[in-house]
Symmetry: C2
Subunit: 203 residues, 2 copies
């Protein structure tokens, strides 16, 4: 069985850098944006649209139904979301079957649970998430710290909703991870070297 | 400033072994039961009694009061708990001032927060906690798995209540720790070696 590492992360906690470095240290394949690209290719939808759907829990385009009136009607929004999620599941399973790999986000910890992945969750306090976002030049607009905080909180809220919708589990609940790392005061490069060893100890 | 590592842990998650090994790897002092012994010495209470008080959130010996009627009355149970907690605080501060150290439990992560400790939380799933308890021969009586599970859950519930009473924080909430480790499938010895490096990367 291939070795799989899944990384769930709060936006601004350095998850992408950590994932890339970890995959390099271990010589594992690395999947992040590649998953969106592959879904877009298979569904013939635009990457931007797929990304947008994958960043939100599906919302029905119909009002809350009463009785059975709407049950049998197709809901294109829901259908699209479900199609994309189905593709996501099969792509992740193919990736896991192909080689050892590090996968960032996309409910991979849950979808690939039968592969017994090593599941990491990264988080940080708000000031350090703001600092990391500024360093990465994520927000080109001139945002105040308060505005940036609100954006970060909104992204993380959506990640939690999306995860909980598809998995029925609470995002970031420690029991679903093997390791939770607070990156507030952390040098990601040095931390990754240590986690590489920790992974060897756990696996 | 001395380097302080605090270890909070679910009962049965291997926290004591982890703490002792970590202190040996780093050449740090190790404090666990020593704290209870020192409190007993200073308060002239028995170790057993101190341990018992430190395992429960204080409970008033009076019924819930109405208005101001009981406010000014001394409550010996509460006083004793508060005395012991005060001693605990000063002993922990003395230990932290003396040398680099690893401290297990006793709200040390909160009490010593100004020393900027490296705060670890260890947890595991229930079957592995049961397994560890049996291996350590913690329960000499013949308990079924179900009974042992109930005991483990009760100890952990009391730890959470005690911590929350004195700190106002939720025990095990990841934001209060630098690292949360799921020891379910872990070889503690190998894991400790890796965390020794992780500590060096974070500090």
């Amino acid at each position: 069985m291939n070795k799989i590492i899944t990384i769930s992360r709060e936006f601004g906690s350095g998850g992408r850098e950590f994932g890339r470095r970890l995959s390099e240290n271990l010589g594992f394949a690395y999947y992040d944006q590649e998953i969106v690209q592959e879904i877009a290719k298979r569904t013939e939808l635009s990457e931007k649209y797929v990304q947008q759907v994958m960043s939100h829990r599906p919302i029905s385009s119909f009002p809350i139904h009463i009785g059975r009136s709407f049950r049998m009607m197709a809901d294109p929004n829901m259908d699209q979301s479900q199609n994309i999620f189905r593709e996501q599941c099969s792509i992740l399973r193919e990736m896991a079957a192909k080689s050892d790999c590090v996968i960032v986000g996309r409910c991979a910890d849950y979808i690939l649970q039968e592969e017994n992945p090593f599941r990491v969750f990264l988080y940080a306090d708000m000031p350090s998430k703001v600092k990391r976002c500024r360093e990465k030049n994520y927000e080109k607009e001139e945002l105040t710290d308060r505005e940036l905080e609100r954006r970060i909180a909104a992204v993380n809220r959506r990640r939690a909703e999306y995860y909980e919708y598809y998995t029925g589990q609470r995002w970031g609940d420690r029991i679903h991870y093997d390791l939770c790392i607070n990156t507030t005061q952390t040098n990601i490069k040095r931390m990754t070297a240590a986690v590489t060893r920790l992974f060897a100890a756990q696996s």
